[in-house]
């Protein structure tokens, strides 16, 4: 009882103090709760505190963010939104349309975000012209990882076209190595699918099919070829792939059981954590074809009341995009900084390739959002496509049938 009284009194005191001084306050909803990710958030938390702010952490783990989104929905409906929420891609626009996002343009303009962020990534952070979110990192999705020893032993180079990949895979299969380490979960099927769309169709086709959802592109011959290639890839996967987690597939490449894995650069974290060296033990290259698929994590800023919260929001936005945090966070997480003017000296060779490719692809317009990781499409449309992709990959559905179902599913998802 005594302790309770003390706690109440002290919290009242804190409340009284904060209302007088308007010290920056931020309540941050995120789902970075596992090892390296939690460490990365802690960096931000410390910096926020060092700048005189009070950080209220609201981590909601589970379901790849599903649980956090449920919590967010409840908070918004109750009219008590958190200051900043880990959100990305079109989800930011969706929440903006509900009329609950804040405008942080004054911070963005003061800090010159427009000059340091690639244009297509900056576009995700803007809601009808005003800035409403701050980008944290850039994950590249279209990576192919390989075990260097296995490739050398079989005399195989990193493939640069899908035909080369198929030839290499057949050779590996004959030698008794699993060519492609893959986990049979819908999002992993979708990840492979989008890299094949980009590789076989090119950036323009990718944009038409998976960003604009043009029905003609979805039912085109190119898309039929994409599904043919998916069927071929199915033959390069081991029997036991159903339901396997992505990091177990990475482990198969690591210990030489399998040769390749197609996965975003979070897979690099697994290799590095196991003490493997890029370029020596494992190889990284973009998947066959041109272009760059990005998956950008960001914090969307929600409308909050009170000067202390507004101040906290602005401080948070400033710190997130500042070079120092971008460097430290991304070294921890395995991704690359969203801003292009951060020194990459401390990053490994894969990150350097990623940053270089991001710059060139940004210039020639092939810097594209990943559909499989919720950057290109809204949940309902992306989910509809994933349903077809995973149904095709896990059955004997013909490519023609898959293409037809794809168009139907997209039309039915609005």
């Amino acid at each position: 009882m005594k302790r309770f009284a003390f706690a109440t009194a002290s919290s009242l005191a804190v409340l009284a103090a904060s209302s007088v001084m308007a010290e920056p306050q931020a309540e941050v909803l995120h789902w970075w709760t596992s090892g390296g990710e939690a460490k990365s958030v802690a960096v931000l938390q410390e910096e926020f505190a060092a700048n005189g702010g009070t950080w209220t952490d609201m981590p909601v783990a589970g379901g790849g963010g599903d649980a956090a989104m449920t919590a967010l929905r409840a908070r918004v409906l109750a009219g008590n939104a958190p200051t900043a929420v880990q959100l990305k891609g079109p989800a930011i626009q969706e929440w903006y349309e509900e009329g609950v996002l804040a405008d942080i343009s004054n911070v963005a303009e003061a800090e010159g975000w427009d000059k340091v962020l690639p244009a297509s990534i900056a576009a995700h952070m803007k809601c009808e012209g005003t800035w409403c979110a701050a980008p944290v990192n850039v994950h590249r999705v279209d990576w192919i990882w390989a075990n260097a020893d296995v490739l050398a032993a079989n005399g195989i180079e990193m493939p640069t076209t899908w035909d080369e990949f198929n030839a290499a895979a057949e050779k590996l299969q004959a030698a008794g190595v699993i060519p492609l380490a893959h986990g049979g979960q819908a999002w992993q099927d979708a990840t492979v699918f989008e890299t094949v769309v980009l590789g076989l169709g090119g950036p323009e086709f990718y944009n038409k099919a998976l960003v604009e959802l043009d029905p003609e592109a979805l039912t085109s011959d190119t898309m039929v070829k994409v599904f043919d290639q998916m069927r071929t890839l199915r033959g390069f996967v081991d029997e036991n792939f159903s339901g396997r987690d992505w990091n177990l597939a990475t482990a198969m490449v690591m210990n030489g059981e399998a040769a390749f894995q197609i996965m975003g650069d979070w897979a690099k974290g697994e290799f590095l954590a196991a003490g493997k060296e890029p370029g020596k033990d494992f190889l990284c290259a973009s998947t066959p074809g041109d272009g760059y698929l990005y998956n950008v994590d960001s914090f969307a800023m929600f409308d909050v009341e009170g000067d202390d919260k507004r101040a906290g929001q602005e401080l948070l936005a400033k710190l997130i995009v500042a070079p120092k945090f971008q460097e430290v966070f991304n070294l921890n997480k395995g991704s690359i900084p969203a801003r292009t003017d951060v020194s990459l000296d401390k990053f490994d060779m894969c990150a350097k390739i990623s940053a270089e490719d991001m710059a060139t692809s940004s210039e020639n317009g092939s810097l594209l959002p990943s559909y499989a990781h919720g950057m290109a499409l809204r949940g309902a449309q992306a989910g509809a496509i994933t349903d077809v992709v995973t149904a095709h990959f896990n059955s004997d559905m013909s490519s023609q049938e898959a293409v037809q179902q794809l168009a139907d599913a997209v039309a039915n998802s609005y």
Partner: protein, 290 residues
């Protein structure tokens, strides 16, 4: 005053829970029905747009799979669990030794959560870890048992795990039923020289009709709301081959921000439950009125 209290005490005590049920069960059923008629996406909207969500639902191949799976899973699960439960109960009823011990063994799976059952069976059925690799390890190189990763058979693995979990409970229900049959009738039949199997099929089992109904209702609602078992055992895969309406609803509401669609699927699930429960309630109420 005290007399008034005495007369109205039951009503006063029941009122809070009555109101809570009214709001939190029937109120929210009404709310879901409303939302299922709207174009709600990320957040619920209240502008009625007709039956568009139901049209989308019935156009969706994934929902087709989910409903078909519910029929397959529901029918097999209920029938096998009842047959197995009844057989176990009859065998246990033969006045054997250590009956209490054996009964506990069969009942224990019920104490596990579905998540534990699902995970354990996932390992047992995984071709690379479980039965298949073990039997191959014994030298039978051609042995295949890959139902878990085969889209055409994966739904049957869910039936297996669910039956394993629930048949002990059904056994306990039937055992109680068997014990409640009047011993005098059975003795009379035995005196008349009727064979044991005839006593079971003609006298004991027909007199247990209410137990069958209870077992059916319990199993049917377990089948319709099955969710955790699928998530733990197959995650709805391979592809979406083992999706059930409950997992479909979850995916729409929480992963895809398609609340209208989720509400429509929830309403259909409720109608399926009603189709089973209403005849049961009707027969119960009629029996009381007679």
């Amino acid at each position: 005053m005290s007399e008034w209290l005495e007369n109205h005490l039951p009503k006063v005590v029941l009122a809070p829970s009555f109101i809570a049920v009214l709001i939190f069960v029937y109120g929210f059923i009404g709310w879901t029905a409303w939302v299922s008629l709207t174009r709600s996406k990320l957040l619920p909207k209240y502008e009625i747009k007709g039956f568009v969500q139901y049209e989308r639902l019935f156009d969706s191949p994934r929902w087709d799979t989910a409903i078909n799976n519910l029929y397959i899973f529901g029918a097999l699960f209920i029938v096998i669990a009842m047959v197995l439960g009844l057989a176990l109960a009859i065998l246990l009823d033969q006045k054997i030794r250590v009956e209490g011990f054996i009964r506990t063994i069969y009942l224990y799976p019920m104490a596990l959560s579905m998540i534990v059952t699902g995970t354990a069976w996932k390992w047992i059925l995984n071709p690379g870890l479980g039965i298949e690799s073990t039997v191959r390890g014994w030298g039978f190189e051609n042995f295949t048992f890959d139902w878990l990763v085969n889209p055409d058979f994966a739904i049957y693995t869910i039936v297996m795990a669910a039956v394993w979990q629930s048949s002990g409970f059904v056994m306990a229900l039937f055992l109680a039923g068997l014990r409640s049959v009047d011993g005098e009738i059975i003795k009379a039949a035995q005196v008349d020289g009727i064979p044991t199997w005839r006593i079971y099929t003609a006298i004991i089992i027909p007199s247990m009709a209410p137990i069958f109904l209870s077992a059916f209702i319990v199993l049917a609602h377990l089948a319709i709301k099955s969710f955790d078992l699928v998530i733990a055992l197959t995650g709805g895969g391979p592809g979406y081959a083992t999706d059930l309406p409950a997992t479909y609803m979850y995916a729409m509401a929480f992963s895809r921000g398609d609340i209208g669609q989720a509400a429509a699927s929830a309403m259909i699930m409720m109608l399926v439950v009603f189709a089973i429960v209403v005849p049961y309630l009707y027969s119960e109420l009629r029996a009381k009125n007679d």
